[in-house]
Symmetry: C2
Subunit: 142 residues, 2 copies
Amino acid sequence: MLFADQGAQPMMGRLLAHLLICDPPHQSSADLAEALQASAGSISTLTRQLLAMGMIQKAVVPGSRATFFRLTPGMWVDLMRQRNGSLRAVREAADRGLRALAHRPTEQLDRLREFRDFYLFLEGEMPRLLDAWLARRQETPR
Amino acid sequence: MLFADQGAQPMMGRLLAHLLICDPPHQSSADLAEALQASAGSISTLTRQLLAMGMIQKAVVPGSRATFFRLTPGMWVDLMRQRNGSLRAVREAADRGLRALAHRPTEQLDRLREFRDFYLFLEGEMPRLLDAWLARRQETPR
DNA sequence: TTTCGGATTCAGAACATACTGAAACTTCGA
DNA sequence: TCGAAGTTTCAGTATGTTCTGAATCCGAAA
């Protein structure tokens, strides 16, 4: 499964893919290491990163000392919301550029202004789109 | 200008940023090499790639043998359209996964199905969003 | 306190990427 | 046909990234 997880290292993609289909849905570090044929070190690093991003959660399983992990429900939507932050970063950079070049004749700035406006548009519309998705999910019977 | 051009090497980001603000808007290879302090080899490779992606165009300037380049008008929208292709790739991979696991009890597939549905939603809505942007651009007086 | 299952850290190996510089090539005018 | 301007190609270098393995750490049970 070619998981082109933008900005994720290959093993992180495999880890997420596994958590998407594994049975049961929660897995211990050892389970993951075994399933992905990865070192314990890798798993530790990756789970720490994914926890920090909020993409996975810890789960406790009675009778086992080990830590278990599962996908955070609704994480894909959250992920897209986070990505909106990088749209904003680009838009803000464009704004700084426009401010810095304010002394130039206006038609020279058309290109940069259009770029900025486009990103501003996306930045504003993406949250709407995600809300629309959540609303649709809500009304669909499971 | 921190150009976090997803999937573009640093120098490509700088090249695009330069074409966004340079005066005049078309630049020769030598101009670019000079402005970015890059080797002629880099410029050649990068312009070839950007041409292939349709993000820049060649321009002829009378009286000069050199090739000039300028940003393709409307390229940012096109870029987003292309990115829709990677949404589709992910969605298709999820579909293959669902087909391969069709024998499993349905509730085990909930996670993967929701993932697929979300990407399918985005894949369908993004083009609408871009059309909405173009329509708005149209009616705005330049 | 010791022991042991389990987790974490990090130096280093293997691999991948981005760019340069120099040589080869193309094109056009003389 | 020659020469010069301009461009392309590519081997090599520098730099980054990803993962492993071994040492270390932590905490619970004995």
